[in-house]
């Protein structure tokens, strides 16, 4: 393989010395400092940490919704200057527009990305394929208010995937769901990512979710002035099966490592707070 291309792919997302400080009524608040992270093409990265550790802040920076006070963020060797459809976001609360049907919600994104180059029929086909991918073809003409929380989140994922983003950014996408629905959606996501080979950055506070889904777990220290405490490579073979992994020694080891970081080494700060 071409050496430079390989290098590019290994540093598909490149975060260098990023610091984020917010101006608040009580004075400046440093949320993040000294963030250095690379994400390879096709890699699945989980950001994990206690509440308020700035993991969503970091995700918003990659999305381009906010700009860092210092440092640079690159995606495919280009500086991230603002939000765009090549870095699609799945929001925690799905953020579907309640006055549009599931179809229209997805079509809105598809239209924006592909309308200049493709025909109406192709756009329609893309939207329908995205709905089929998350198993929601029957809900095509339903509005978000008429479907369950899990289905809404699936539409949110479909909307993001339909734009064929270079990077899929997910902000606690399953946080608001019950445990059973969450497990089912995690399995679906595993299958979808396997199929699409997407690069994914996902914020989570669920240890099992992080280990099951990721190639790399980025563990963050407690805020304020949070930074990356440790990066854990999860070298479990794919496709992964949650039932088989439950007793797998390597899985248990990774799980223990994350729990150890979160509760033994970073736990005391929260107790003190």
């Amino acid at each position: 393989m071409n050496a430079t291309l390989d290098f590019q792919n290994r540093k598909f997302i490149d975060i260098q010395n990023v610091e984020q400080t917010f101006k608040t009524a009580k004075g400046p608040f440093q949320a993040l400092r000294d963030i250095n992270l690379t994400v390879a093409k096709g890699e699945f990265v989980a950001l994990i940490g206690h509440s308020g550790c700035g993991k969503s802040t970091l995700l918003n920076l990659i999305a381009g919704l906010t700009m860092p006070t210092q440092g640079t963020l690159l995606c495919a060797n280009k500086e991230i200057g603002g939000p765009g459809p090549e870095r699609a976001v799945v929001f925690q609360n799905h953020s579907l527009l309640p006055w549009l049907t599931c179809y229209e919600n997805i079509y809105l994104g598809v239209e924006r990305v592909f309308a200049p180059t493709e025909s109406k029929a192709q756009l329609k086909a893309r939207t329908e394929a995205a709905l089929a991918l998350v198993g929601l073809t029957p809900a095509t003409q339903k509005r978000p208010g008429e479907i369950s929380g899990g289905m809404k989140q699936r539409v949110g994922i479909a909307r993001a995937l339909a734009m064929e983003p270079k990077v899929l950014l997910m902000d606690e996408p399953f946080g608001a769901l019950d445990a059973l629905t969450r497990a089912r959606l995690q399995d679906e996501l595993l299958a979808i990512v396997q199929k699409t080979q997407s690069t994914v950055v996902m914020v989570t506070h669920d240890v099992d979710e992080a280990v099951l889904l990721s190639d790399k777990i980025v563990m963050m220290t407690n805020g304020p002035s949070a930074t990356i405490g440790e990066v854990l490579s999860v070298e479990l073979p794919r496709p992964r099966n949650r039932v088989e992994l439950a007793e797998d020694a390597a899985y248990v080891h990774y799980r223990k490592a994350v729990i150890d970081f979160l509760y033994t080494r970073q736990g005391h700060v929260e107790k003190a707070a």
């Binding site: 939000p83 976001v89 527009l97 309640p98 006055w99 809105l108 208010g145 809404k152 989140q153 769901l177």
Partner: protein
């Protein structure tokens, strides 16, 4: 609608039945409802009475007070029954026309409604886009907020002379007054609605990189619609309040002018009829707009 209000005292004489009215002898309209009540289980009946009795007692009280005032005024103030007979006469031919100063109550109401529709329509045409602009761009908000705060509390009738001066006519001046008093609630509510569009929706717009036109039609407009319709409702309410006063001053054909004209004729029964008509038309406008607003309000979806 009109007859329903006047019905109660007349009907009251007919079926004297079981229930005991709470508000004294004149509150007899209560039994009138008994003809609507088919035999049901006792619990349902109790709830039914709870819904029907209090409003009827309220109307009964109104009629009682009215009757007492009429009795004490010594003939100057028409009694309810007298007014009822006059109302039947007025409404038997609502669309007659004997020249510009003597027209049926139907024509008067219609020409008032026409003025309100014109003034209000123009206000919506200007106010709603202005509200969007003020809500979307902070510069405009800071520019216009002081002006709106200054002009909004001004009594609508204070604008009438300006209208007469500029438009040199009674009718356009009345329309102008409606315009100026109904524009504020629409501007303010629309602007507030735009500022309160959930940031999640705006983040979606940013991530999808939607054009300003798509943001307006797919996100802002539907999200703001409920706020806007509240503004429209307030505006119509104000407009209907103001038109009566404006027409009293400007003359012509209209329900407000009719009130003033009947006062000059010392026909108090007609004034009372006009008061009921104004109230009922206002109620219908309000009710229709609430129906429209609920039809266009989307459930706030939270998973």
């Amino acid at each position: 609608m009109v007859s329903a209000v006047f019905h109660s005292p007349a009907d009251a004489i007919a079926p004297a039945s079981t229930s005991k009215p709470i508000a004294g002898p004149a509150a007899t309209p209560a039994p009138a409802a008994s003809r609507k009540a088919p035999p049901r289980q006792p619990i349902n009946l109790a709830r039914f009475w709870m819904r029907v009795l209090p409003p009827l007692a309220g109307f009964g009280l109104l009629v009682l007070v009215w009757e007492l005032i009429a009795m004490r005024s010594g003939g100057g103030f028409p009694a309810p029954y007298e007014t009822w007979l006059q109302a039947v006469k007025v409404f038997s031919d609502p669309f007659y026309s004997n020249g510009p100063n003597d027209q049926g109550v139907g024509w008067n109401v219609l020409s008032s409604l026409q003025r309100v529709a014109l003034g209000f329509g123009l206000a919506a045409l200007v106010g709603i886009p202005a509200g969007f602009a003020i809500g979307r761009f902070e510069f405009l908000a800071r520019m216009f907020n002081p002006l709106i705060s200054l002009l909004r509390p001004v009594s609508p009738l204070a604008w009438l002379p300006i209208g007469l001066l500029v438009f040199k006519g009674a009718n356009p001046a009345a329309i102008w007054t409606i315009f100026i008093c109904s524009i504020w609630p629409m501007i303010i509510n629309t602007a507030v609605g735009v500022q309160r569009v959930p940031s999640d929706y705006m983040n979606v717009a940013k991530v999808l990189n939607l054009s300003e036109w798509k943001i307006l039609t797919k996100i802002l407009f539907p999200a703001v619609l409920p706020y806007m319709l509240t503004g429209v409702r307030l505006a119509v309410g104000t407009a209907w309040l103001v038109i009566v006063a404006a027409e009293m001053l400007t003359g012509g054909v209209g329900i407000g002018f009719w009130v003033w004209d009947e006062w000059n004729n010392l026909n108090v029964a007609n004034i009372i009829i006009a008061i009921f008509v104004i109230g009922i038309v206002g109620l219908i406008l309000e009710f229709a707009l609430i129906k429209i607003a609920t039809a266009f309000t989307f459930e706030e979806v939270k998973s």
